[in-house]
């Protein structure tokens, strides 16, 4: 009973959470709670891998919840993949927090919620009826909300918490309505019943948009991403890693489960909508990220970008499936799910690195860091690997999954519809643009934080992070390398999922011979072997190094930086996050964010300082949230009048309402 094992782990995690309420102030609580969380996640991970390899779906009904329904749980291939993602991320976060958690000022505000959050995410993935799903979903939202507002009581965190809880409620409401439509007039809530029922096309369309809003707001698609860059950085770093690396993936799971599995056939136009939303999200996400100088917020915006890439893959899969091109749909869905896995690896890794930097220096602002390569060399190496992986550079894993997404996009000439034929190349170009922008952004993030000279005294006092955190970071960096060099192994594991969702799978890859290339489509000649490329790079580097050692003058001398003869006296003259991004801001953000630069030069002879001002406008806030917020405020103010009426007027209102309702009842057909 695989699902039983996972549920036992969930129960154990909830038990740990209750235990933490009692134990959280003890000196050993940190190690005990995080250690236990990591162990139970690892056990659940083993169960999930067994389910993925075993293949057979496993179900269980517990007599909990609503008395006449019970709670249904089920693990199939799709759930198993996402359980792997959740528990791998959970275990890594637990190990990282073994050391990192000691920096926590108020552990009693974090420790009880951490295992509960992990348990909630597991429950969402194994839920097999709408009631269990929504309950777990809300449990996940609330525990993560508690973790977001746990950290401190600054106004910024409270604002993040408020926006998060509003957006989370909106998302749950959308999902609730979507399940209402799926359940139909008879109101059966088990997923198996919804699958069998098959809604009509109009219902499908409405439900699909509701799911896009509900799951999309949790995943962070534009313009519903607004809470994400506020809430993710506000939490402690191990929780930021979980929220960005794992919880957004649970939202992707919700989308895939409902749209691919429960909704049945979907019109190709809806696939087009998803591709378009994904492409816009990817591009704007990375552009937002480039404008940031807070390291954790930059990473949070990159989550928005990667969710966009995943949704482009899912949209392509929907469009291919709607046209009966199952092989291409399988490729697109494999690419998207492989990217889900890869992103959970490198995003957790990067947040761990940012957390280590924050713990060592007390700074998240990149413009006050610099030169950490010398004081925190191991954190720097792992962050560099994560940065290269997220920038889609070969031979790491980010490149492998983006390469697969491009291969899926290259199959667009087989679409019968003109709209898709034209949209797909355009979205592929946008994906290439966002990959290039991501590379620029991570040159900035790594370069300004870890390279150069120290911009504040805190950097010189920084010490390398503890062994447990280092272990977690090196393990994830190693996983990024392995997934990049042996992508065929992972796409093979995703085969049953593709089979389940699209009724086809990409060709099984020969993994016995590690140098054999990844072949996404049987007929095509396109192939990529991460193993060969990594091998060639290593051999070429070795040959070059050997040749240089043989023929060149090996002497090195240390001296002052040359800098064309104008060495900078102060570390503050170095390029900062803002100055690095300035050319890109000028080229791209002038339109997207209405970025403007103003220089005030005082008149000659005037001793006033010159001023430079750069302004940005966030389109999501300007065009959506601020007007909606104003409208809600206006409505609340208008209704406020009803609070201060005399008793006569209240009685009048009651009477009029009664008359109105009776009239309606009388006229109702």
């Amino acid at each position: 009973m695989l699902v039983g094992n996972v549920l036992l782990c969930v129960a154990a995690l909830i038990g740990v959470s209750c235990f933490a309420v009692w134990a959280c102030r003890r000196p050993w609580a940190n190690s005990a709670i995080y250690g236990a969380s990591a162990v139970f996640c690892a056990v659940a991970l083993a169960g999930a891998i067994a389910a993925l390899v075993g293949g057979a779906a496993s179900t269980l009904t517990l007599p909990l919840g609503l008395p006449w329904i019970g709670m249904h749980f089920r693990i199939d291939a799709l759930a198993a993949v996402f359980l792997c993602v959740v528990n791998l991320g959970g275990a890594a976060a637990g190990v990282f927090a073994l050391g990192y958690g000691r920096h926590e000022h108020a552990p009693q505000r974090v420790l009880p919620f951490f295992p509960a959050f992990l348990a909630a995410m597991n429950l969402v993935v194994v839920a097999d009826d709408a009631f269990a799903f929504l309950l777990s979903w809300e449990f996940m939202s609330l525990t993560s909300w508690a973790l977001v507002v746990s950290h401190d009581r600054s106004a910024e965190t409270l604002r993040a918490g408020l926006i998060y809880i509003v957006m989370a409620s909106f998302g749950t409401l959308s999902l609730l309505l979507a399940f209402g439509i799926l359940a139909g007039p008879d109101g059966h809530y088990a997923f198996s019943w919804m699958r069998a029922r098959g809604p009509n096309p109009n219902e499908t369309m409405i439900a699909m948009f509701l799911v896009l809003f509900g799951a999309g707001s949790k995943a962070g698609i534009f313009p519903l991403h607004a809470w994400l860059p506020l809430a993710h950085p506000a939490a402690p770093s191990q929780v930021s890693a979980l929220m960005s690396g794992v919880m957004t993936k649970v939202a992707v799971y919700a989308f895939v489960r409902i749209v691919f599995d429960l909704l049945g056939p979907i019109d190709w136009r809806l696939g087009m909508v998803v591709i378009g939303v994904g492409a816009v999200t990817a591009l704007l996400g990375v552009l937002y990220a480039l404008m940031q100088h807070d390291l954790k917020r930059l990473l949070a915006y990159h989550t928005v970008e990667n969710i966009g890439i995943i949704f482009v893959g899912l949209g392509l899969a929907l469009a291919f499936r709607a046209n009966g091109l199952t092989a291409a749909a399988a490729l697109a869905v494999t690419a998207a799910l492989f990217h889900v896995f890869n992103h959970s690896l490198f995003k957790s890794l990067l947040f761990f690195g940012a957390g280590a930097v924050q713990a060592a220096t007390g700074e998240r602002d990149m413009d006050r860091l610099g030169g950490l390569m010398h004081t925190m060399p191991r954190t720097a190496v792992t962050f560099l690997i994560g940065a290269a992986a997220i920038s889609a550079l070969p031979p790491l894993n980010g490149f492998a999954s983006e390469w697969l997404t491009f291969q899926a996009a290259f199959l667009s000439p087989s679409f019968p519809q003109w709209g898709l034929r034209l949209l797909t190349p355009a979205s592929a170009a946008i994906l290439a643009l966002s990959a290039a922008l991501a590379a620029a952004c991570f040159v900035k993030a790594f370069g300004v934080t870890f390279l150069g000279r120290a911009r504040s005294e805190a950097v010189n006092l920084a010490r390398e992070t503890d062994k447990a955190s280092q272990f977690a970071m090196f393990a994830l960096a190693g996983a990024c390398g392995v997934a990049g060099v042996f992508p065929g192994f992972f796409t093979n594991l995703l085969g049953p999922v593709a089979q389940f969702l699209t009724a086809a799978r990409i060709p099984a890859q020969a993994i016995a011979a590690p140098w054999s290339p990844l072949l996404p489509v049987a007929a095509s000649h396109n192939s990529y072997s991460g193993f060969v490329i990594a091998g060639c790079l290593i051999v070429a580097t070795a040959v070059v190094a050997f040749a240089i050692r043989l023929v060149a003058n090996g002497a090195s001398r240390r001296g002052a930086a040359w800098d064309c003869g104008y060495p900078d006296a102060s570390a503050m003259t170095q390029y900062t996050a803002g100055s690095f991004a300035q050319p890109i801001r000028r080229v791209f953000a002038t339109i997207a964010f209405r970025a403007r630069e103003m220089v005030f030069m005082p008149a000659p002879g005037d001793t006033a300082p010159a001023e430079f001002k750069a302004t940005l406008h966030d389109p999501a806030w300007d065009l959506l949230y601020t007007p909606v917020g104003k409208a809600v405020g206006f409505l609340a103010d208008s209704l406020n009048r009803f609070q201060f009426l005399t008793i006569r007027r209240y009685l009048n209102l009651v009477f009029l309402t009664l008359v109105f309702l009776l009239t309606v009842l009388a006229l109702w057909p």
């Binding site: 610099g370 030169g371 390569m373 010398h374 560099l384 290269a388 920038s391 889609a392 070969p394 490149f399 390469w403 996009a409 290259f410 034929r421 190349p425 355009a426 592929a428 170009a429 290439a432 643009l433 990959a435 290039a436 590379a439 620029a440 040159v443 370069g447 300004v448 390279l451 000649h525 396109n526 192939s527 990529y528 072997s529 060969v532 490329i533 060639c536 790079l537 070429a540 580097t541 070059v544 240089i548 003058n553 090996g554 002497a555 090195s556 001398r557 001296g559 002052a560 930086a561 040359w562 800098d563 570390a571 170095q574 390029y575 100055s579 300035q582 050319p583 890109i584 000028r586 080229v587």
Partner: protein, 316 residues
């Protein structure tokens, strides 16, 4: 068997050996067109040897990344150049990589070089890294669009297959291929930092991009960077010649004599490419850095147009 193995070893060595010569030819032709005598075409070799003999000066706060980057940059560029068929279609690594992988490898090299530019913490390094990445963000989507249009014509993104398809007699005059050719030339000019995007022969000028990034390098490290830069130029010239002018490249299973002819033809193509590049550079002025996105945008539009034409009609 041994002959194939020998050819597979010759290819990467040939690429690395010819690269400085190509740079030398470009410089010589430019000089002659400007009515200067110019340095000998083997001057780049002499420069590299001279640099290799000198000691390397590292800034006080340069980290290991700074000294490791030249090795990685040359290795990545070299691997990418080896993946491009030069004188024979079978590179031995054909199934391991397609055109996107080559672009990815060059992006890796650029990523490392931009980080090295930021490592010492000087303003010149910063400006170079920042602008290099800005140009890359415009050039990469354009490159992908062009690859897309090629894939639409040839049905694959593997380079040798594209070349074999272009060589085949069934292919008539294709407008989409011509547009893609112009686009590729623009990308090649931008990626290699040639005029009008960047000027490889300037120092101490605010418009410089690549040179600003590698300003702190000296000795053997600078030699490696220079060699990598030449190799990248050779890569782009080979790429354009094998995709658009694949005639004379030795097919799979040719004998040694055929391969000898193919090598000579390849070198001749490189000479022609170098001369055309020099001529192009002389007829145009350096652009302001913020005009560059518009210049590369032309390549993106050409790629889109080529893809569109191809979608509209099978024969265009």
């Amino acid at each position: 068997m041994t002959a194939t193995l020998a050819l597979q070893v010759i290819q990467p060595i040939l690429v690395l050996l010819l690269a400085p010569l190509l740079t030398g030819v470009v410089r010589k032709t430019k000089a002659r067109l400007q009515r200067r005598r110019g340095p000998s075409i083997v001057q780049p070799y002499r420069d590299i040897i001279r640099l290799l003999r000198k000691e390397s000066v590292l800034a006080h706060n340069a980290s290991w990344l700074f000294s490791a980057t030249p090795y990685f940059v040359l290795a990545a560029t070299w691997v990418a150049a080896t993946l491009v068929p030069t004188f024979r279609f079978d590179t031995g690594l054909g199934p391991a990589a397609d055109l996107i992988v080559i672009v990815g490898l060059l992006a890796s090299a650029r990523f490392a070089l931009a980080l090295a530019g930021l490592d010492v913490g000087t303003s010149f390094g910063g400006i170079g890294a920042s602008r290099e990445m800005m140009i890359a963000t415009v050039a990469e989507p354009a490159m992908l669009m062009l690859i897309f249009s090629l894939a639409l014509v040839a049905g694959t993104t593997r380079l040798s297959d594209i070349a074999i398809f272009v060589q085949s007699p069934i292919l008539g005059l294709r407008i989409s291929l011509m547009l893609a050719f112009v686009g590729f030339v623009i990308i090649a000019v931008a990626e290699n930092g040639r005029i009008p995007v960047d000027n490889p022969s300037t120092h101490l000028e605010l418009t410089m991009v690549h040179e600003a990034m590698v300003l702190e390098y000296s000795g053997r490290h600078l030699a490696l960077i220079e060699l990598a830069h030449s190799t990248k130029l050779l890569l782009y010239v080979s790429l354009i010649s094998v995709v658009f002018f694949p005639w004379g490249v030795a097919p799979v299973g040719s004998d040694m004599a055929r391969h000898g002819v193919a090598i000579l033809l390849y070198i001749a193509k490189l000479f022609v490419g170098a001369n055309l590049l020099a001529l192009f550079e002389l007829t145009i002025a350096k652009m302001r850095v913020f005009r560059v996105p518009q210049f590369i945008g032309v390549a993106l539009m050409l790629g889109l147009l080529a893809a569109l034409l191809r979608l509209v009609s099978r024969s265009l």
